[in-house]
Symmetry: C2
Subunit: 389 residues, 2 copies
């Protein structure tokens, strides 16, 4: 993939991952870029999240630095000092201000960073920066991901390029997820912040791998304007097109994260229709998506619609169970809260596919929402029982 | 186990379980018993729960009827008619009022009951009633349980006997859990209701197997007074002893449910100390207990304390992460939100035991709470991927 004009990237191995795989990545803009971010809502926030929230308040950034293999979370004052040291070290090598460096970490929680390795990595990554570095960067931010996640959209003469890592601890309200989007389109800061918030609700916040919100979730967008033209704001003729393109990139990355969910064999769309409002629809879909029992059933292609209703009943939404419909694999297995006319054998066959749908009709209003999730497999348990060993 | 005076019980096979195992149980009091109940908070409530809630309003009961293998949930109007028919059929055989029969079902959701089998089962169970029937009854209410759950306490000349089934869909606020406690102690209705509520908070509502609240959870207590004496109320000299004895029986049953959690290899005590109040302590412990990631780590005896903190951070409690302590297997692995002086190797060794402890110090106040849960195993996934097949 080609990076947008004015951006370079790299990914190198500095020894944080025991595997020896690349674990330090950088994306740099040759000029100040308008920056916006969305961060984890977990009360426990990793040191790099705290630092990057502070740096991004300036609304301009030049560089993104990421290490994988260690989340620098729950590491106390030393952790915060280490995050700051990462920014300082990168800033020195790039001859830019440290406040223009956005630092990110992902990996194991509660282990101090090996700063000797990190500093060497930053130096090597700085030297390796290249307009062809997108692939190296995407690979360097992976943890339990089995493949890199990249998405791209074209906006006139500009490009929007996105990168993400995911795999576990993925739940609505941002998760163990790092995502970076860079574009050479010129964008006004206020409009970028607003558009990012809207986009997140329908992409990264509409996926759930395991209901666990992490300490490090971060989504950053940098727009450096290198493609030229007037800055895009709410009144700009390209405002809608920019929103769509950013939405496309974020939705693609979010979907790739679910497709690569730890141990997952399926991508499950939980579609809620007939909710009172979108917020309620999202809440209903999210509650069903987080049901461990339903996700086990889907792993076994078991059309166990009762688990859909049982999960929905714990959402806190005051719905009437006697009017709810549930389709599994396109079959209406539950009608008005009781067994429906759908064919369970056909539903079972449909649930053997990689892409499956759980659709719920609440009959309370007109709002709909979709949340993507995975099935829960024995392999997920194996991966997460052995993570630090 | 000996039943309390005036009670008889039975358990028979009527063909609801494909295995041919016992699946219909009854407990009957020879005189009206004071009755109290606690029920699922799920918005979707099974037909027998709806009926039993209605019947128990009369505060007296004579019989408990339970079928296993089919939850009679999400079965519409027919389901409610079937539950009523179960009560009527049992009442006719016992020559008592149908309002004095408390009906319960557990098993698969969304499949109509085979009422021919159920009626035959009720007739056979009525014939089999015996003061020696405790064991048969305990066996007949099992679903994915691997062993029956029985507990007993002595209160002067009276006995408190308890039965439960559990295994999956177990979470705070009552779960796929049926529990029945019978005593020949005389107890005032108001005091029984109050004591049951308090007891539930510290026993059945303090366990979590998978964070899923079911459509059928029910806990019933019948006190028939056959042991003689003045009814026990709040001012009675035996009030405290009764509370303790009921608490002992319920806590034992709750613990047995966790010990027999689906696929579980461990019983995990999540102990929260230093919370502002008990409600907050329970919420903190419950949130940590429901972390799929932590429960996978415990399955692998992995002292991954970061997952404890990450889970706690999603509890909605406004705590300060920089003062929190976490002990795993007795080792202080996290002190003030950062790595602590504990020995990770010793923690790992301790986590290989069947009984393990996760202790959290929040340093906000003096309140404590404990929630029992299991590890999450690949076997749990296997059981729940194949439940209806």
């Amino acid at each position: 993939m080609k990076l947008p004009e004015g951006f370079s990237a790299s990914g190198v191995a500095c020894g944080l991952k025991p595997s020896g795989n690349p674990d330090l990545g950088m994306i740099v803009s040759d000029r100040p870029a308008t920056a916006a971010g969305v961060f984890t809502t977990n009360r426990v926030q990793a040191a790099p999240v705290q630092l990057t929230r502070r740096h991004i308040r300036r609304s301009k950034a030049r560089a993104i630095v990421v290490n994988a293999g260690n989340a620098n979370a729950c590491t106390g004052k030393q952790g915060y000092a280490d995050a700051r040291s990462m920014a300082e070290h990168a800033a020195r090598g790039l001859a830019i201000k440290k406040e223009n460096v956005l630092v990110n970490s992902t990996g194991i929680i509660g282990v101090p960073l090996d700063m000797t390795k990190v500093r060497e990595g930053i130096e090597a990554a700085t030297k390796a920066l290249s307009s062809d570095g997108a692939g190296d960067f995407a690979a360097s931010i992976m943890t339990t991901d089995t493949r890199p996640k990249i998405a791209e959209a074209v906006l006139g003469s500009a490009i929007i390029a996105g990168f993400a890592k995911g795999a576990g601890m993925i739940a609505p309200e941002m998760a163990t997820l790092l995502a970076f989007v860079v574009t050479d389109a010129p964008v006004e800061h206020g409009f970028l912040v607003e558009t990012l918030r809207e986009t997140t609700a329908d992409s990264f916040n509409a996926i759930s791998v395991d209901g666990c919100r992490s300490t490090n979730d971060t989504l950053l967008v940098l727009a450096n304007g290198a493609a030229g033209g007037d800055p895009i704001g709410a009144e700009h003729p390209q405002a809608g097109a920019f929103k769509d393109a950013l939405g496309e990139v974020c939705a693609s990355l979010a979907r790739q994260i679910v497709e690569d969910g730890e141990g997952a064999t399926k991508v499950v769309s939980i579609v809620v229709e007939g909710a009172t409002n979108v917020r309620e629809a999202r809440r209903a879909a999210g509650t069903v998506a987080d049901s461990v029992l339903l996700r086990c059933a889907l792993n076994g292609a078991d059309p166990n619609w009762g688990r859909v209703l049982a999960a929905l009943g714990t959402s806190g939404i005051p719905f009437d169970p006697n009017v709810v419909d549930v389709w599994l694999g396109g079959q209406l297995l539950c009608q008005n809260g009781a067994p429906g006319p759908g064919d369970a054998a056909k539903a079972r066959a449909a649930l053997l596919d990689r892409d499956v749908e759980v659709r719920i009709g609440m009959k309370r209003g007109d709002a709909t929402a979709t949340v993507l999730t995975n099935d829960l497999s024995a392999e997920y348990v194996r991966i997460n029982a052995e993570y630090t060993t």
